[in-house]
Structure formats: structure tokens, C-alpha cells
């Protein structure tokens, strides 16, 4: 499948900012399931700085801007050819040892309820792949998809207790549950092409990867009850949503404490005929 992506993120500041620094992980991962045809990142008015591929295999790019600026626009345009590998992250080059992803962070900390959920799934036995599928299904069951009820800082435990959430909550909960069973797990951010009229929120997507013996990292998307396929574009990974964020930035204001920041994101993903 060839997917074309247009992703525009606009930050507007209540009062002009003096400077802005961003660290971006907005380039598709390099693995057997996806091949970049063309890809361009630009930040209006900013200059490109350090760039490198980190130990997790993500391409990191820094941008900085000297103000005064009232807005900044991050624009991503490109095309990617994707292949369905049933979620297996085949041929991905990375050096971070999997054991690193056994560490819990605040949003992925398992509480008693997550431990119970994970243990109940494990008690049914089976080999790790089947276990991971059942774990993902159990999270889908336990957390109904409902936008607007959770927020950026909602933890896996809170989302499970609430029984509702969005893809970020599903991913956090699955990561927490997998780690209970001693399976390394991580958060993945990327894009999802939906056949139907997908809104921007769905197009910018997140899911989890679980490390399985013999298979390596395998993606699971509890929000859509499937494994990532040719509709998915993988960008970056991390311990949790914050750690895997494709855009991280800090603006320093001209007037300390003045203004605020508003964010406008549009993501359009289309399937291109070959």
C-alpha cells in the first residue's frame, strides 16, 4: 500500500515567544514493513540543528527558532510504501536492550487491577504470542473507546478504572499489563489510514509493541483490536506517550508567564493508487 501523509501542527502563542527548541521524531521507522518514497519535514522560520538516529532506531531532528514569533508551524509531507507483516517489526535496526522496556513509568505503572487482569489472562496458559493477543483483547474489552473522557496525563490504572479512553490509554494499559507478565513492552506513535472518513485524531495514532521470544517486537493495537498492518505508519517508540512523542518542544516567552499556547493539528492520510 502506498500512503501519502500530510501532517501540519500549528502552535499559536498568546504572547510572542523569544525562542523555541524542538526535538522531532517524525520520520517513518526503517523496517521491512515500510519504505519511504519521499518525506520532508519543515518548521517555518526555524533552522535545522542536530540530527541522528538513536539507540531505539528513531531518527531525531532538532530545530530551533529565534523569536519573536507568535506561531510556529511544523509541516510533514511524504509518501510511504507499507507492507502487512502482521505487526512484526521485522528488520528494524536498534541497539536498546529489550530488558530496558520492563521498567514502569508513571503512566504505565500497573496497579492491583492491572495485575489481576494480566494474571487472569496468563492463567489461561498458552505460548507468549497467543498470550499477547489475549492480553490485547482483554484491554480492548476493559477500556471502551471514547474520546474526551481521558486526558494527556491519564495513567493506565486510571483509564482501566474508568473503563473508557482513547488509543493512548489502551496502549499504556497494554504496556503495563505486559510488563506484569515480564514481557518487555513499549509505546509506539505513528499514523493510521482509515478507509472511512477518518478525523485527524484517528490519523495520528498510537499502539503498543510487545517483545516476544523468537519474533522480536510485535505491534498490538487494542484500540482497533488488531495488529498493525499496511494501514499503519510507525514513527517512534518510548516507555510511554511522553517518551515516544513525535514532537517535543519548549518555547521561552518574551514576557514570563504571559500568554499560553494553543495547538492545531491536521493529519490527512490517503491511499495512493500504484
Amino acid at each position: 500500500m502506498i500512503l501519502s501523509v500530510s501532517h501540519v501542527t500549528q502552535y499559536r502563542y498568546g504572547s510572542p515567544v523569544r525562542s523555541l527548541v524542538q526535538s522531532l521524531r517524525l520520520t517513518p521507522s526503517v523496517f521491512a514493513g515500510q519504505r519511504v518514497i519521499d518525506w520532508a519535514i519543515s518548521v517555518e522560520g526555524a533552522s535545522r540543528g542536530a540530527s541522528f538516529r538513536d539507540g531505539a532506531g528513531d531518527l531525531v531532528e532538532s530545530w530551533s527558532l529565534r523569536g519573536p514569533a507568535e506561531a510556529v508551524v511544523v509541516r510533514v509531507e511524504g509518501r510511504v510504501e507499507t507492507t502487512d507483516l502482521n505487526g512484526v517489526l521485522q528488520g528494524h535496526r536498534e541497539t536498546v536492550p529489550p530488558e530496558v522496556y520492563l521498567r514502569a513509568t508513571r503512566p504505565t505503572l500497573a496497579d492491583a487491577a492491572i495485575v489481576v487482569l494480566a494474571r487472569q489472562v496468563a492463567d489461561q496458559g498458552g505460548e507468549p504470542l497467543a498470550l499477547a493477543h489475549r492480553l490485547s483483547a482483554a484491554i480492548s474489552e476493559a477500556i471502551a473507546y471514547r474520546p474526551g473522557v481521558t486526558h494527556a496525563h491519564t495513567t493506565a490504572a486510571e483509564a482501566l478504572a474508568q473503563g473508557e479512553g482513547v488509543c493512548q490509554d489502551h496502549a499504556h494499559a497494554l504496556i503495563a499489563a505486559a510488563r506484569v507478565l515480564d514481557l518487555p513492552a513499549r509505546y509506539v506513535s505513528g499514523y493510521l489510514f482509515s478507509d472511512a472518513e477518518g478525523d485527524a485524531h484517528e490519523a495520528a495514532h498510537a499502539w503498543a509493541e510487545i517483545r516476544l521470544p523468537g519474533l522480536g517486537w510485535v505491534g498490538f493495537d487494542p484500540a482497533n483490536r488488531c495488529c498493525p498492518d499496511a494501514r499503519y505508519i510507525r514513527l517512534a517508540s518510548g516507555f510511554d506517550a511522553q517518551d515516544a512523542a513525535p514532537i517535543r518542544g519548549i518555547a521561552r516567552g518574551m514576557v514570563p508567564g504571559a500568554g499560553g499556547e494553543s495547538l492545531d493539528v491536521t493529519v490527512a492520510i490517503q491511499s495512493v493508487q500504484q
Binding site: 526535538s23 540543528g49 542536530a50 540530527s51 538513536d54 539507540g55 532538532s62 530488558e99 517535543r248 519548549i250
Partner: protein
């Protein structure tokens, strides 16, 4: 117990040669003169402003740490062996760090458990695969040592991040030289005042490959409210480098700059005295106001050197400590010169059972603790204290390690009644860059209350000047 303690001044009841001159010195010093000198020393410390707590131990930052005028003396022979052991350890710790952020050979070889390293909070995912200039992660290694008998040294812990206290080493010497110049004329004492310049050279030697001119080195401090701020500004002065805070630095075009009155100036090496978590809000704690946004990206792409390297802390964890002798054998193919204190890992059920059965004889510490807080000194504790500690240990065994109580050596120390032996430890500061260097000296901490084994300044410890005699 007193009989079994090694007093470094004596050997079989006779004064050891390195202390001979000091014996005369003390005998010739009437109590009134001693009191006057002690007051003078304190006034000097106050005037210089050196009042911070050593090793980030907390407590009142403006409290003066007691200075004991009776120096601790090492012979050249004793020092050479210590030096060999300290440098060996600093090299092995750096080899370990480079390895665990690289191919992880020591883990593949099954010599250190993967989880202990990769599951460690101090293991930084952000620097995996990065090779810092000259392959050095820890540029200043502070190694805490204790002595239990003639030539018998044990390493208590390693400090690979930003060991503090070196300003005490320099100031203690400065003050002793001012107050007792005759001793320095008559005895051949190796100087320590070259340390700041050696530190500057060490840092300059790890400038990024892209730096073509004379490297610009800065010290990054959290600010004046930090308990070790005095040391940061003191070192910057002596090294002739700028002392900066996060707000003085910024990144642009893949490099790091410092704001100066003449415009931006490129910075090549940052000797940071702030923790990893606060270095860069884009990479670590987003709420950090102390760091520099985007610094880690510049670091990872080779635009600036950070010393110690982010992630260096994984080598000085108390659980990793047990494996340092193994690192020395694995990376250097040598036998350790300095011994580790035998350590029981309470995370292991067998070890934990042994520790619980012998709490009265052991020292139990938190794996991530420091400053002498949250520890149990078995022989000095009451039955109730031991029982309460056992509860905590059973609840979270993985949090603790235990060691035997060592018969720490004592050094003659001025006390109210005259001179009496008090327990001491030693922290030398090993520099690692193009070369591995050690100035002949270090910081001796002394437990001022009789019989106390806790030398931490937050727990009533003091400091002494440490002398190494030339041949």
C-alpha cells in the same frame, strides 16, 4: 573492641615514621595554642565561605563542617598501591559504561545480570549506542575507601556521576599550610593544588571531534541555592572557566552556545553539576528549569561533551558495586588491587535470609540511598530498632544490601580532652580523559564522636587534610 582497631599512627605501640614529626608537633602545642589555632581555622573557613554539606547529604547548608587540624598521613609506598587500585577501578568502571551502552559484552558473557543493568533507573535509554569522546563516561570518579589494618583497604562505594567535596581537599590543605608552614617546610608533602588545572585539562581532552580550536569548558550549576554552589564557583575560579546556569546556555544549529556580553560563544565541554533528570527538559524531566532545552540532541550528535556523561550513574549503583571486581577481571584482565566489602544482596532469597539472621552484626543500606540515611548499623542498634528494620527489609528486600561492620581504622584527632583516635574514611578524586590521573591526596572524613563509624557530615562527621609523603 578498642584493641582491635587499627590506629594509623601506631604500629605495635610505636609511632610509625610518617607520624613521628606530628607527634612532636602535638606535644609542643599547648592547649591554649591549639584552641587558638582551631578558632583561626574556623574563621578562615567562614571567611572563604566553605560551608556546604559534602556529597549532597542535606542538612543545614550554612553549617560549617568541623575541620580537624590533625592531618592524616600516607607514605609514598602506601599511596602508590592505592593509586594503582583507584586508577584500575576508574578504568574498569568506564569500560563497563562504554560496554553496557554499546554491545553489552559483559552481559552476553553472563558475568553481570542483564536486568541489574538494563532494568536500572540510572540506565539511560537516550544514550544507548553513543560513544562519547575517548570512550569516557565518568570523567571524575570519586572512590570511597576505608582502611582496616596496615595496607588493608576496602572500597565502600564508587561515585561516577558528580562526586563533590574536592574543594575541601584543596581548602583543608590551603588552611593547614597557612597555619602550620613549618610542618610543610620540614616534611615533604606531595602537593594537591594542581587538581583544578588537571581537571580543566581532562575536560578539554574530551572535547568533541568537531571542536577545532582550544575547547571552551564551562561548569553548569543548578544555582546558588544548591548546597554545593560554593564548590562549583570555587572550581570555576581555580580552573579559569565560566560558571553557568541552564538559562545562560542555548542550542542552535546543532551546537551549544553560552550567552556573553560579546554575543554567543560556542561551548565544547560542559562539566555539569546537575543530575541527568534535569539536564534537558526535552529529553528528561519536562518540568526542569535547570537544564538546557535540546542539549541532549546536540550531545548525541557530537556537538558538545557532557561530563560526566548522562547515564554514567548506572556504574555506581550499590547493587552494581558487587560486580566491580568482575569488571576489572573482564575488561582489564587484572586482579583487583583494592578489595570490595563483602556484600549480601537482599534481593537474593539466600542472602536475605542470612542478613535477617545476622542483623545485629551487619550494616544494612538502601540500594539507592546515600548520606547515611535509612541505614542500620547492627552493632550500634537496639533490639527494637533491629526488629523494626527487619520488618522493612522483609517488605522490600530488593531495596537493601548488607555488609559486615568493618573495624575501620582510626586517626589521631583533636577532641576536647586532647588527642584521641577517631574513625576515618577517604575519598580520592580520579580524573579520566586522555590520561587517567590522580592527585596524591583526597578528602578524609572523620567520625567525631567516640566509637562512631558514620563519617557523613550530616551525621556529625568532620574533615581532615590528607598528606602523601614524598620519598
Amino acid at each position: 573492641m578498642a584493641d582491635s582497631i587499627f590506629n594509623e599512627m601506631y604500629d605495635d605501640g610505636r609511632v610509625r615514621p610518617p607520624y613521628a614529626r606530628l607527634e612532636d608537633w602535638v606535644r609542643a602545642m599547648p592547649a591554649a595554642l591549639r584552641a587558638m589555632k582551631q578558632a583561626e581555622a574556623e574563621a578562615l573557613f567562614r571567611r572563604i565561605g566553605i560551608t556546604f554539606a559534602v556529597y549532597g547529604e542535606g542538612g543545614d547548608p550554612d553549617r560549617l563542617i568541623p575541620f580537624d587540624m590533625f592531618p592524616r598521613v600516607f607514605t609514598q609506598g602506601e599511596w602508590l598501591r592505592l593509586e594503582r587500585g583507584i586508577k584500575q577501578r576508574a578504568r574498569a568502571l568506564n569500560a563497563f559504561l562504554l560496554d553496557v551502552y554499546g554491545r553489552g559484552e559483559i552481559i552476553r558473557a553472563g558475568r553481570v545480570p542483564a536486568r541489574l543493568v538494563y532494568g536500572n533507573e540510572a540506565y539511560e535509554k537516550a544514550v544507548v549506542g553513543f560513544r562519547p569522546p575517548r570512550g569516557v563516561y565518568s570523567h571524575i570518579v570519586g572512590i570511597d575507601l576505608v582502611c582496616t589494618g596496615p595496607g588493608e583497604f576496602f572500597v565502600l562505594e564508587d561515585n561516577c556521576r558528580t562526586p563533590s567535596g574536592v574543594s575541601y581537599m584543596l581548602e583543608n590543605r590551603e588552611i593547614m599550610m597557612r597555619m602550620f608552614p613549618a610542618l610543610f617546610r620540614e616534611m615533604r608533602i606531595e602537593p594537591v593544588d594542581g587538581y583544578p588545572e588537571l581537571l580543566r585539562q581532562t575536560l578539554a581532552s574530551v572535547a568533541p571531534a568537531r571542536c577545532e580550536d582550544e575547547p571552551t569548558v564551562v561548569i553548569l550549576t543548578p544555582g546558588h541555592f544548591n548546597s554545593a554552589y560554593y564548590e562549583h564557583s570555587f572550581l570555576a575560579d581555580l580552573m579559569g572557566v565560566e560558571l553557568v546556569e541552564g538559562a545562560d546556555l542555548f542550542v542552535e544549529n546543532g551546537l551549544c552556545y553560552m550567552r556573553t556580553t560579546e554575543g554567543p560563544r560556542r561551548v565544547d565541554v560542559i562539566y555539569r553539576r546537575i543530575d541527568d533528570a534535569f539536564l534537558d527538559p526535552l529529553c528528561f524531566r519536562p518540568d526542569s528549569m535547570l537544564g538546557v532545552a535540546g542539549l541532549m540532541d546536540v550531545y548525541r550528535s557530537g556537538g558538545v561533551t557532557i561530563a560526566s556523561a548522562p547515564g554514567a550513574g548506572v556504574a555506581d549503583d550499590k547493587a552494581i558495586y558487587t560486580y566491580v571486581p568482575e569488571m576489572i577481571r573482564f575488561y582489564l584482565g587484572e586482579e583487583p588491587v583494592l578489595r570490595n566489602v563483602p556484600t549480601w544482596q537482599c534481593a537474593k532469597p539466600d542472602d536475605c535470609a542470612h542478613v535477617l539472621a545476622n542483623l545485629g552484626d551487619l550494616v544494612v543500606k538502601e540500594v539507592h540511598g546515600s548520606g547515611g540515611y535509612g541505614m542500620l548499623v547492627g552493632p550500634k542498634s537496639t533490639r527494637a530498632q533491629i526488629a523494626a528494620f527487619a520488618e522493612r527489609l522483609r517488605a522490600e528486600p530488593g531495596k537493601y544490601i548488607a555488609q559486615p561492620t568493618l573495624a575501620l581504622s582510626a586517626c589521631p584527632t583533636f577532641v576536647a580532652e586532647g588527642v584521641a583516635p577517631r574513625h576515618v574514611d577517604l575519598r580520592p578524586y580520579c580524573l579520566v580523559g586522555e590520561q587517567t590521573l590522580l592527585v596524591p591526596g583526597g578528602l578524609t572524613r572523620v567520625a567525631l564522636s567516640e566509637g562512631s563509624l558514620v563519617v557523613n557530615s550530616s551525621q556529625g562527621g568532620g574533615v581532615k587534610d590528607t598528606w602523601v609523603l614524598a620519598e
